[in-house]
Homo-oligomer: 158 residues x 2
DNA sequence: ATACATGCAAACATTTTGCTTTGGC
DNA sequence: GCCAAAGCAAAATGTTTGCATGTAT
């Protein structure tokens, strides 16, 4: 349950430094059989630095992509990273697919303006964790995770 | 909170008959300035009959589309129906956009298999309603609604 | 040395639009 | 009769793949 005197928007108080998160991700990528290339590091760094989900265009056109890697390269990296559970795919109402880092001790829900498309990470205690475990048991589905987004009109667009 | 002795899957016990839902939707469409065409009725009927979200291809190739309406026609109807709050768009992890009827007294959450793509409506009491109202107040966003999906591997695919 | 990663270009899937004709009100 | 809706076809958008070449291990 959310307390009204707390901000509902993201406070960006990461538990781990960007460097730690990167090292961990690179380690997991290596274990997953990926080679340590410039493009891989760039993509991870960009995702870690972003406080929003990013899509393929965002990443492949990012200033942070020092290697200047091709769209196809970035695409293939994203697929591999997702398969290995290092990043997560999100289906926001945009035509494109969004990605975020998947950090163990953090879960993100989003608040999205249907007018301007602004995506805001919510700093809330997610209320569906218990439910998720129940559904896992009751349905026989394995490795459950969830996606929760709130849509509405932001103050500017309303 | 879900009780373990209850099924977690949809029981299809609609509170209103399909005809009632259709009449209500047509009425709201009319109020929204839409003309009562064959294609409109077909699209609504198809959505009402479906116990799953449907995408543009599903609808425009459906047997139920007696009028044989064009893809573009169906597309434009879907846009108009969504603008008027009669149907809802969903961003499932598929490449396409899905739609469902938006019924006042029903809220749908989904369980989706990341292996075979099967979409299952969940018959649960959604735990985020209260949170939604809090976020609405705290964020200044208007007309909030949410989308909640659980992803995982179904028994067959696991 | 080998297998994986990359770049480029082309193929795909799906959505979206322009324009003319049709049809509901 | 007027304006919205439909039909057809083409454009736009974003993703995905094939293949020759480069590069990490």
């Amino acid at each position: 349950m959310l307390h009204h005197h707390h901000s509902v928007t993201c406070r960006h108080h990461d538990k781990h430094s960007a460097q730690e998160v990167l090292d961990e991700a690179l380690h997991r990528a290596k274990d997953g059989g990926l080679r340590r290339t410039r493009a891989l590091e760039d993509v991870l760094r960009i995702l870690i630095a972003s406080h929003q989900p990013l899509n393929l265009a965002d990443i492949s056109e990012s200033k942070g992509l020092k290697s200047g890697a091709d769209r196809a390269t970035v695409y293939r990296l994203l697929v591999k990273l997702e398969e290995r559970g290092i990043i997560r795919r999100l289906g926001l109402h945009d035509r494109s697919t969004y990605y975020t880092m998947l950090e163990h001790d953090r879960h993100d829900d989003y608040l999205i303006c249907t007018g301007c498309g602004r995506i805001q990470r919510l700093d809330i205690q997610c209320p569906v964790e218990a439910l998720e475990r129940d559904i896992e048991k009751a349905s026989g589905f394995k490795k459950l995770h969830h996606e929760l987004e709130f849509y509405g009109l932001c103050p500017k667009c309303a």
